[in-house]
């Protein structure tokens, strides 16, 4: 690996000013040159949204006084698309997304802007990794998440990249590093609760307050391993076809 030539793009969904993206840019800088392309504000839970109805703007800026970058008025997936399509003069060797403040394990993967930025990179043909820390606070100790990122970045660069179509999704507990294991996405969901409230004009409104529910009792899932205090890395792919059911249903007429 020639670190002079390695270019790593860093994105996230918490916005370009979040502590998590600075921590990830620092890890990336140990492996090569860094360029940051990230939303100009919080974009959590946007999933794989892309912006088509309004124009995008990208303001050149310096992140953490060190890393060149662009703040984009769009979603995480927009950032990766715009970086690839216009902003970057040279294609990055690796796209990193995070470090998200909050876990993206289990069903959270589907709602995650952090993971979608990495997946968008994978779709466009890049090697891409999403990294999240279970702790939400801005002042969370990201030491373990940074070490998990470091190990997975090294794994990917040492192999010369990831196979086409796969994204690595990394999660880490807050605090010091206590190991990292390969994992699968835990079966889980939110038991929806909306608080019914009434506004000052006596009109009803609803505020989401779902409770996370683990439906998976295996010991090899991302959430199980995280709960044991270790970081996880799950290979994910974007072909959503259920091949076993296709085989079963495919015999039946419609």
């Amino acid at each position: 690996m020639n670190s002079e030539k390695t270019l790593i793009m860093v994105c996230n969904d918490d916005g370009i000013f979040s502590p998590g993206i600075k921590a990830l840019a620092k890890v990336a800088s140990e492996f090569g040159d860094v360029v940051v392309v990230a939303p100009d504000r919080q974009q959590s839970a946007v999933g794989h949204a892309i912006t088509m109805s309004v124009p995008l703007r990208a303001n050149a800026m310096t992140v953490a006084k060190k890393y060149k970058g662009f703040a984009v008025n769009g979603t995480p997936a927009d950032c990766v698309k715009l970086a690839h399509g216009n902003l970057l003069k040279k294609n990055p060797d690796l796209i990193l997304s995070g470090i998200n403040h909050g876990s993206n394990a289990g069903i959270n993967i589907l709602y995650s802007g952090t993971v979608s930025a990495a997946t968008e990179g994978t779709i466009l043909g890049y090697s891409a990794i999403a990294i999240s820390c279970t702790a939400y606070p801005e002042e969370a100790d990201l030491t373990g998440a940074m070490e998990a990122a470091r190990r997975v970045v090294k794994f990917v660069l040492d192999r010369g990249g990831l196979p086409r179509g796969v994204t690595l999704n990394v999660n880490a507990p807050e605090g010091e590093f206590k190991g990292i294991e390969w994992s699968r996405m835990a079966d889980s969901r939110y038991v929806e609760e909306y608080e019914d409230r009434v506004d000052p004009f006596n009109r009803a409104y609803y505020w989401l307050t779902g409770q996370f529910e683990l439906l998976d009792d295996g010991n090899d899932s991302d959430i199980h391993i995280l709960n044991e205090g270790k970081a996880t890395v799950t290979p994910i792919q974007y072909d959503l076809t259920d091949y076993s059911l296709l085989k079963e249903f495919g015999e039946e007429g419609l």
Copy 2:
């Protein structure tokens, strides 16, 4: 099947006033009672976004002078969550999303609000089907898409529902019905292009104009079958784990 007791919820991402949702509600009404819960405006390409930072509102209304419903100021996934969590007094037997104006085949599945509404239903434990027509215009002939929906709804209700974790994703060409086949999601992507423009204040902005690229030469993919003029139905699932790569990588240390 007792049609008096069957309750079908209809959602979409084009908004509660789109012709497509009226066409789908009409098909649903052939099988049972219908309730519509849909965004109050266009929400295309929002992916699996959910709204957490602002309150949701739901206005009771009647759709196409026939169907009871709610217009929600949120995303398609929000509509399903809020319907499940608060709006509906009785759980629906089936959730339908569409008929979308525009194909949700191949990689479009990932960006689709239509598909995400159905997937959200699946996550919450419902049987759910997404239906899209390849034609964008509001006045598109949805005859074939309605017939495709009719056949797949009958397939699901006759079986007493879908297995947990699977969503059916239906696509149909514009115009008359010419058959429907089981399919898989085509490998595909957008070759990104952003038009660089300059605003009246001499500042740059970017507008997305990607070109769709089919990377899949199999004859069993959704896009291939659609191109032959037939409708498609693809079973999709939301466990994104790449199990074959997990097996391969799982042997390696990090």
